[in-house]
């Protein structure tokens, strides 16, 4: 099964355990014309990563049940076909060491909650443009 075969639109994987924020992200991304694949915990996210082929982008929460954002990012980067997928971390943890740790682990961008929906979408579009250009 591949994402390209299953979905006509570009795919964004959203890993978010907060139901309301997940709903908001799904709404915003769908409006922008993305196909959204949701996962609400680390275990579900790992299953998604193992099952589908590389999406256009991953939006990842840091604190998740079963496996945290760092572990999921490592899982993504360990898969050769997923290693170029832009990963945006969206989290409430705003300490310098968390940001440095995430960026050093290969996360493409780091957005702190509370976030601006318009800014988040601009970043998503920017990372997709960079990926397409590359």
């Amino acid at each position: 099964m591949t994402a390209q075969q299953d979905y006509a639109k570009p795919v964004v994987v959203v890993v978010e355990d907060d139901e309301s924020i997940g709903f908001l992200l799904n709404f915003m991304l769908s409006r922008e014309g993305f196909e959204v694949v949701m996962a609400t915990d680390g275990r579900q996210a790992k299953a998604v990563i193992d099952e589908i082929s590389p999406p256009s982008l991953v939006l990842l929460d840091l604190m998740l049940p079963y496996a945290d954002g760092y572990e999921l990012n490592a899982h993504i980067r360990a898969k050769p076909e997923w290693c170029d997928v832009p990963v945006i971390m969206l989290t409430g943890r705003s300490q310098e060491r968390d940001i440095v740790r995430a960026l050093e682990a290969g996360v493409t961008d780091y957005i702190i909650k509370p976030f601006q929906p318009v800014e988040l979408m601009a970043r998503v579009r920017r990372h997709l443009r960079v990926k397409t250009a590359a």
């Binding site: 907060d18 309301s20 924020i21 709903f23 908001l24 709404f27 909650k113 509370p114 976030f115 601006q116 929906p117 318009v118 800014e119």
Partner: protein, 351 residues
């Protein structure tokens, strides 16, 4: 069943006790089933309400709908929690739209009435909402809640006051934060960060220099978490005004700029060992090449904690490598200095 009509009182008592126990068990089972049913019903109602209102709030981030569905009395707490959650997760213009929809849905008068309820949960939701709406008309009511004996209510009220009018809130809040020992310092610091740095810096600096002496160390700890341009000047003044060990210790912990190196070095010989601990730690954070020798001397302090922090400070200096540390260790004649360096080098290699 002959024993039921037995004339033996003990048999009779056992029989009726057994009957009573069976009835109690049946009643409890039925009560648990009833509670489960009510819970499921409540959860279903909540889900139906969220299915309607969550999309409304999300769409309102782009445009406010003309007509909103009515909210039943029972559903207000769910709407308050959902609205507060969105408001605290988002920034920028999205918040203006959420404020507009809250006013349109009639949340303001409901929040005002919830504020008067005795239930902590209702009061918390109301205070948070009114704070996020920056509603000035309920200033006095929220101010009264900030002295509530329940720490969650009083902290929520303090946050709401800062959100409504930070400059007006400061003269009232600063004495409270030093008096309320039941407030978790991490949460207080978090709330203080919501105020503009210049407002909180001025208010805390003033409080540090004019509050009663026992409150000063705690105020310095809060002051330390805020990035203030004048922090070294204020901390120097605090040490001059209150030259006791607790205040000096707190100031040494808070110093971040090399401008304070003279005062740090001066306190390396302080009589209180916890002051010497903070002095060596401060030297580790901002020490210069010359301070390496001072820290080496501190490895022979009579207090284990001072020796340990001195060794850690030495290893954290940017110009000292593990090889340098091993060389310093080999040069030590003092057994305690050597021991503490062995430990810190081992810890450094483990990381």
């Amino acid at each position: 069943m002959e024993f039921a009509t037995s004339s033996d009182p003990i048999v009779n008592l056992a029989f009726w006790t057994g009957i009573a126990v069976i009835f109690i068990i049946i009643f409890m089972v039925l009560y648990v089933i009833f509670l489960r049913y009510m819970l499921i019903r409540e959860e279903r109602r909540r889900k139906l309400f969220l299915d309607v209102w969550r999309p409304i709030l999300i769409r309102s981030l782009e445009s406010i709908p003309d007509v909103l569905p009515p909210v039943k009395k029972k559903d207000w707490p769910v709407l308050f929690n959902l609205w507060n959650h969105f408001h605290e997760s988002l920034r920028g213009s999205a918040k203006d739209n959420l404020n507009e929809i809250a006013r349109k849905a009639g949340m303001l008068p409901v929040a005002g009435s919830l504020l008067k309820k005795r239930k902590v949960k209702s009061r918390l939701a109301a205070i948070t909402t009114l704070g996020l709406l920056r509603e000035k008309t309920v200033w006095e009511e929220i101010k009264n809640s900030s002295v509530d004996e329940h720490p969650s209510v009083s902290l929520a009220a303090m946050r709401a006051l800062i959100r409504i009018d930070e400059e007006r809130a400061m003269p009232f809040i600063i004495p409270l934060i030093s008096a309320r020992t039941d407030w978790p310092p991490a949460r207080v610091a978090n709330i203080l960060h919501e105020a503009s740095p210049h407002v909180i810096c001025v208010a805390l600096a003033d409080a540090i220099l004019h509050s009663p002496e026992p409150h000063i160390p705690l105020l310095i700890r809060y002051f330390e978490t805020i990035a203030c341009d004048s922090s070294t000047v204020v901390l120097r003044q605090a040490i001059e005004k209150f030259p006791n060990a607790a205040v000096i210790s707190a100031c040494l912990h808070a110093f971040k700029s090399p401008d304070a190196l003279d005062i740090v070095r001066k306190n390396l010989t302080h009589a209180a060992w916890h002051v010497r601990v903070q002095a060596v730690r401060a030297l580790g954070r901002m020490g210069l090449v010359y301070d390496k020798y001072i820290l080496i001397n501190m490895l022979c302090d009579q207090q284990w904690w001072v020796r340990y922090r001195a060794a850690q400070a030495l290893s954290s200096l940017p110009f000292i490598s593990t090889v340098d540390l091993e060389k310093i260790r080999d040069e030590q004649a003092d057994r305690y200095a050597k021991d503490i360096l062995i430990q810190v080098i081992a810890e450094k290699k483990m990381v």
